[in-house]
Amino acid sequence: MRPLTLKRLLWTCGGLALLLLASVVLALKLGAVPISVTDLILDLGRIAIGRANELPTEYRMIVFDLRLPRILLGILVGAALSVSGASFQALLRNPLADPYVLGVSSGAALGSILALIIAPEFALITPLGAFLGAILTITGVYFLGRREGQLDSTTLLLGGIISASFFSAIIIFLMTTLAGRDLRGMVFWLMGDLSTPVSPAMQWIFTVGLLAGIGAIYSTSADLNLLLTGEREAAHLGVEVTRVKLVVYVSASLLTALAVSASGAIGYVGLLVPHIVRLIFGSDYRLLIPASALCGAITIVLADMLARTVVAPTELPVGAMTALAGAPVFIYLLRRGLP
């Protein structure tokens, strides 16, 4: 593999950012109400020079109040899931690790539902509960996967899958017994859904939290490269293993929690995107983290665009789209040997 240079890093990220921009434009254009790109660019120009009031109200509502926030949320969710997947894969030295497979997503979902039941009046309680759920789950699964002081990858994955189904059972129990509450929306949310707009305050929290989480993980990416060779080896090479692990576990749980409280449990993105990025760009974490973030964003934006348009005006949950596309790719990767 070629060594990573700054030039290569910038070129790759720049190219991916352009691709992301193209997907955003495409996603803005397509939808239940079609809009032409020429109009879109002209209108963006109008907004840029502060003449937004010239646009028809309905049009502005559809494109800039409904579609654009949803796409931006998709970008954040995709980036968060891919980066947390990539970091779990490095920490656990397990190519199949992913917030969904490890049960962290389900833990976060359970945490946010519990928070919603305990204190429904606080808007910010959902991400907080999701974060607590995520961090408790990953701690639990980590200790489940330890055998004689060693991480056993099979036990770890089984522990994650079992926790995920256990949490799903609790969620179903809660949703059935608390029939008085309006938890019907949860059914969509649990499948992974971006169709419900979040409040502007939440959007800010997501943006800040995700940038902080991705930044923290990126700052440890050189150490993650060394950690891939083994914890003892990394310690010999001067890595503060405990500190790095703590930072990455907390940040990855934060990213998962934010993604889950925004859009529910969207599967396969955290697993597949880092693998595809590795296949194309190599496994240097200094490139893998930003490239995964961008590719994850592209994936979710495109998947959500399909979810909105295939059976319009009815919508599919975006989680169904990612699973439809993700499961076959996963099997393909498994058969040809993981990178």
Binding site: I35, S36, T38, P56, A179, D182, P197, V311
Partner: protein
């Protein structure tokens, strides 16, 4: 530098250039495609709305204050029952859009659809430029909040009984500015229900099981409008629970032995097929009602809190208490009208005829007040 090194170097450089060219071609194609598929799909939503006329404020059934224009011109309904109410009030021409499940009256099928009641497409709703959106308890709270945030007026109804359904008709009537026809419609419905009460006075209520879904067995709780409809028709649900759509055990039903099983004619042929198979299904075949054929299929109108529900209640009452309807004249002599006097019937009498023909075969994809499990299944099926 040996020959081989040179070869390798030039080969590497070539590969690099080739890669770059490929990337450039790819990105150009993407951009070109973007513009090519632009085509005729020019801006569909255009023409800014005129500055909003001075509006009025109404309070909906959940206590929310809704600001609506003086004269509502474009209504979007988010549930089949609301669509029926709007048509029954004679305001069908002001209905700008409804849901995929709005199949009555047939005109409702011609309206632009905004998706299902549980996950309507917000973009589609906005593009219809509504000045009033009607929602009810089958819609999601999140949908209402999202529409609120966009500044669109949403009037939320929440009927839990037949009487409250009639009150809803009045509320929607005053929101649409047609208080008079709403009052006439309400009076007619109340009169028919009072006639029914008079006929059924003195009869003992039948113990019935309303089957929303057979596998798993889902029935209705005591606080739903359906349980109230059963009471009005001279039945009493054997399922006594505050849960709205309880998932009941068949063992319990076998123990309680209902006099009648009641099905709503849903899913076209499915209902008949379901009922035919009951005689052989474990548990069900032990019910006296199944053995004696005491099974009533009522129109799916009973599932919708809308005026047509009263028709279904009348049909059901006739099936449960044929003896009360045996005499051809009513003692009081007051015109007992089973059918034909509702104001919306006078507008287009042919709906009713059509509906009578398809009493059982009404194409419905989904029970309206679906419980969680059913909704989930439907969401997957969609």
């Amino acid at each position: 530098m040996t020959y081989f090194d040179e070869q390798r170097a030039s080969h590497g450089a070539n590969a690099k250039i080739r890669k770059r060219v490929l990337a450039a071609i790819c990105s150009c194609t993407v951009v070109l495609l973007l513009f090519l598929c632009d085509g005729a799909a020019a801006r569909q939503v255009s023409g800014a709305r005129a500055t909003p006329a001075p509006g009025r404020e109404v309070t909906d059934e959940t206590g929310r204050k809704v600001k609506i224009p003086q004269k509502v011109e474009r209504v979007v309904s988010l549930a089949p029952s609301l669509t029926e109410i709007v048509f029954a009030l004679g305001e069908g021409n002001h209905l700008a859009g409804d849901t995929d499940f709005c199949d009555y009256p047939p005109e409702a099928l011609q309206k632009p659809h905004v998706g299902g009641p549980v996950n309507p497409n917000l973009e589609e709703i906005v593009s219809l430029m509504p000045d009033l959106i009607l929602a009810t308890s089958i819609n999601r709270f999140e949908t209402v909040t999202a529409l609120d945030r966009l500044g669109l007026p949403v009037f939320v109804t929440d009927p839990h009984s037949v009487e409250e359904m009639i009150a809803t008709v009045g509320h929607i009537g005053s929101a649409l500015g047609v208080e008079k026809s709403a009052a006439a419609l309400a009076e007619d419905l109340r009169g028919r229900l009072a006639d029914l009460d008079r006929r059924l006075a003195g009869t003992a209520p039948r113990r019935v099981l309303f089957v929303v879904w057979t596998s798993p067995l889902i029935s209705v709780g005591r606080e739903t409008f359906l349980a109230d409809a059963l009471r009005r028709a001279g039945g009493r649900s054997i399922v006594e629970t505050s849960e709205e759509w309880p998932h009941v055990s068949l063992e319990e039903i076998v123990r309680l032995q209902p006099d009648f099983l009641i099905f709503a004619a849903a899913h076209a042929g499915d209902t008949q097929h379901d009922i035919d198979s009951l005689g052989t299904r474990p548990g069900w075949k032990d019910l006296a009602a199944v053995q004696q054929g005491n099974i009533v299929i009522v129109s799916d109108a009973i599932n919708r809190p809308a005026p047509r529900m009263v028709d279904a209640i009348e049909t059901l009452a006739r099936a449960l208490h044929p003896e009360a309807f045996a005499s051809r004249t009513v003692a009081s002599g007051a015109g007992f009208s089973l059918r034909g006097f509702a104001p919306w019937e006078r507008q287009s009498p042919d709906w009713r005829a059509k509906d009578a023909n398809r009493e059982i075969g009404v194409p419905r994809r989904r029970l309206k007040p679906a419980p969680l499990a059913v909704e989930e299944a439907c969401a997957c099926a969609r």
